[in-house]
């Protein structure tokens, strides 16, 4: 595993920053770029990239955090499932802290439910093997990055005749979400920074409609500071030339055709379904349902009665608008007061990839001082 220091060089970053300023000036109007993926939101804050972007370039945070877009009713369903006797509910760590109607999975665990934090669907499968007398529910969330892992866990469970492995499925796909954002009347986005890890799996084809039908650039970016600056540069270039297209900046990881094996196993196990997203409502064909041969593993079928009716976000919370890039986290009246990472009210405050968490952790008054000055003091 080689780490690329050249993607962090601050002198290169400064050069790029100057080039960006020139490009932005040549465009002559504000440019609104949505970073779809929470990993990019996080990196932008983590490396203080706002200091290096021209003032006319505005970054908007998109819906790219799977924890954040999971509807509250589904989280509540997970809590109710976990509280059934005989059930072990397995989930990613971040999901544990998202509140359902009255409590989160972490709180349910503190009160006696068997909730386990795992790192992958295969870990959950292993728990099912070890506890044949219990029903293990894998709370499957995520974009195309984690879906292949879940799909192969499903396939293995079937091959091993494990009847105690179920899926509470809330996996989503990125392309329909982009279309929904482009169609939303209150959202204004000039271009997208495309998600790096998702695109390793799906390649570039699914984004083509953004450039062709909606005339907006998509640049799939890596997560290092220079990756992101470079992607912004490519976007500005495309805007200036008036020729939007789908480009891959993250060439060291993303191939245009994606990962064929991963796509195949996904395809075999899941089929598209309409799906509710927190903040974006129901998006056609944006979710994944188990295909008929695997449908008996669907926890939503087996425990249909536990799914509550739709739950609106708590009062005052603006998660929905934050997820559409219409509001920024500090616009929310609960931000930093009633809603903090220790006691989150909304999902965007929970996961490290959520916009509110990123703002809370890095954003408040960062750049209170020009970066150059900070550096000089540190070195003096």
């Amino acid at each position: 595993m080689k780490f690329a220091d050249e993607f962090r060089e601050s002198s290169l970053a400064r050069d790029l920053s100057r080039t960006l300023a020139r490009e932005a000036e040549a465009i002559g109007r504000p440019v609104r770029i949505m970073e779809v993926c929470g990993g990019h939101t996080h990196a932008i804050f983590k490396f203080g990239l706002y200091d290096l972007l021209p003032p006319s370039v505005r970054m908007i945070h998109g819906p790219g955090c799977p924890v954040c877009v999971t509807p509250r009713a589904v989280v509540e369903m997970a809590v109710r499932l976990a509280e059934q006797p005989g059930i072990i509910l397995c989930t990613f760590g971040d999901m544990m802290r998202v509140p359902g109607r009255t409590r989160s999975l972490a709180q349910a665990r503190a009160l006696g439910a068997d909730v386990r934090m795992v790192y992958s669907a295969l870990d959950a499968l292993e728990i099912a093997r070890r506890h044949p007398d219990r029903t293990v529910v894998w709370f499957a969330i995520g974009f195309e990055t984690t879906v292949p892992g879940t799909a192969s866990a499903v396939r293995r469970a079937r091959a091993e005749h494990l009847h105690n492995f179920l899926l509470l499925c809330n996996q989503v796909t990125i392309a329909p979400a982009l279309r929904a954002i482009l169609e939303a009347p209150d959202v204004r986005v000039d271009a997208f920074i495309g998600p790096g890890h998702v695109s390793v799996i799906i390649g570039t084809e699914p984004y083509r409609f953004v450039a062709e039908q909606y005339r907006r650039p998509v640049v799939i970016s890596g997560f290092e500071p220079l990756d992101i600056l470079h992607s912004v540069f490519q976007i500005l270039r495309q805007i200036r030339s008036g020729r939007p297209e789908v480009a891959v900046q993250y060439r060291r990881a993303v191939r245009p055709e994606g990962n064929r094996l991963a796509l195949e196993v996904m395809e075999e196990v899941f089929e598209p379904r309409d799906q509710e997203w927190r903040g974006l409502g129901v998006i056609p064909a944006s979710g994944l349902a188990l295909r008929p041969p695997y449908a008996d593993m669907d926890a939503l079928r087996v425990f249909a009665g536990l799914l509550p009716p739709a739950l609106p976000d708590p009062r005052g919370c603006r998660c929905g608008e934050v997820l559409r890039g219409v509001a920024t986290p500090p616009d929310c009246p609960l931000f930093g007061t009633a809603c903090t990472p220790s006691y989150p009210m909304g999902a965007c405050m929970v996961s490290a990839e959520g916009a509110c968490a990123a703002y809370y952790r890095y954003g408040r008054s960062t750049a209170a001082q020009p970066a150059a000055e900070v550096g000089e003091i540190a070195r003096s």
């Binding site: 595993m1 080689k2 780490f3 962090r8 601050s10 002198s11 970053a13 990993g39 996080h42 804050f45 983590k46 490396f47 203080g48 200091d51 290096l52 955090c65 799977p66 924890v67 990613f92 760590g93 971040d94 509140p99 409590r103 989160s104 972490a106 709180q107 503190a110 790192y119 969330i141 984690t146 998600p195 890890h197 998702v198 997560f223 500071p225 220079l226 809603c339 903090t340 990472p341 220790s342 006691y343 989150p344 009210m345 490290a352 990839e353 952790r361 890095y362 408040r364 960062t366 750049a367 209170a368 001082q369 020009p370 970066a371 900070v374 550096g375 003091i377 540190a378 070195r379 003096s380």
Partner: protein, 341 residues
């Protein structure tokens, strides 16, 4: 409703971050209040018949019990010894309490105890008392160890955040994040794929005593960077001293495999735990010499100066990032978790 303390304890209350601090401030401190506890340091220094006695206690609940470069036993010895050492104390004695889950293999326990015995010898302390309890299967995580450490602070040694002055320099004794990365790699099942991930678990007393002896009065304050990593320690020190820190990310060493793993998992090495690194605040005029001195020790070979104490908003730690932007460091809230997307 959410957004507030639910009225019962969550795992996050023990993570060493904000909620742990809330518990201390709102629950323990009011009940036990006394001047020593109020200092809320890693150790308490209490007068006893002319000697300044240093006391600290810590419980170790690491999972897995064995990880690359160490195990829970070694951690239980060095963790406590280091809390004494960074307060300027000479560690002398330890007690050890074992809470064992029914079913733990005797062989594993033997390995842990053997490792504790070696660690104690290396750190120059004797384990003088202990306790054993066994809980039913399912009521523990294999093995928990509590250690209490006792030492003494030599005359003339005065350390503490209150002594930190603008212009002082920030020093770290080596690369950061090794322990956190090694444990996370093992938990995520990635430790076989990433070569060279090894915990930095090591005793700090040698480095500390060398610094104190060479630069009497010029060492203001020291901390070991454990849970919450380097970033959390810096914020805590800046807050406790009422000063602002300026840090240069490019000066902070992170070993290649650690960086790589953190990249893959989406974790920030500055928040990953260390178990053998200290942060020292030293007077500017001895800073270079202090680094040179530390570099003559095996555990301090990559010691570095990473920043400066400034006038400014108390508790503010601003870091110039490797990309040339700036970013404010905050306390770790909750655990660091691998990314999903």
């Amino acid at each position: 409703m959410h957004g507030r303390d639910p009225g019962y304890i969550l795992v996050a209350h023990g993570s060493g971050g904000k909620l742990t601090g809330d518990l201390f401030r709102d629950l323990f401190l009011p009940a036990f209040r006394n001047p020593y506890l109020e200092q809320a340091g890693d150790q308490a220094v209490v007068p006893l018949d002319g000697v300044r006695l240093a006391v600290t206690t810590d419980s170790f609940v690491v999972s897995p019990l064995f990880f690359p470069g160490g195990d829970i036993g070694r951690l239980a010895v060095y963790g406590t010894v280091n809390d004494l050492a960074v307060g300027g104390a000479v560690p002398a004695y330890l007690t050890a309490g074992f809470i064992i889950e029914e079913g733990l293999s005797t062989e594993d326990l033997r390995r842990v105890v053997q490792s504790m015995s070696e660690a104690a010898a290396r750190a120059g302390v004797s384990i003088i008392a202990g306790d054993t309890k066994v809980v039913e299967r399912g009521k523990g995580d294999g093995l928990f160890i509590n250690t209490t450490g006792v030492g003494w602070v030599p005359p003339g040694v005065e350390l503490g955040p209150a002594r930190i002055r603008p212009g002082d320099r920030l020093l770290v004794s080596g690369p950061v994040g090794d322990h956190g990365a090694a444990v996370m790699a093992r938990r995520a099942g990635l430790d076989f794929e990433v070569e060279g991930l090894v915990s930095d678990t090591a005793p700090l007393a040698g480095l500390v005593q060398a610094l104190l002896a060479a630069f009497p009065g010029a060492v203001r304050c020291m901390r070991d960077a454990t849970r919450g990593g380097l970033a959390t320690v810096l914020v805590e020190l800046a807050t406790a001293s009422g000063k602002a820190f300026r840090v240069d990310e490019a000066a902070i060493a992170v070993r290649e495999p650690v960086r790589g793993l953190c990249e893959v998992l989406g974790i920030d090495p500055l928040y990953a735990a260390c178990e053998g690194r200290m942060v020292a605040v030293v007077a500017a005029d001895v800073a270079e010499a202090a680094v040179e001195l530390l570099r003559t020790y095996p555990d301090g070979q990559q010691a570095m100066l990473i920043g400066t104490v400034a006038e400014g908003p108390p508790g503010e730690v601003l870091m110039r990032t490797v990309a040339g932007g700036s970013r404010r460091l905050e306390l770790l809230e909750g655990e660091q978790l691998p990314r999903i997307c």
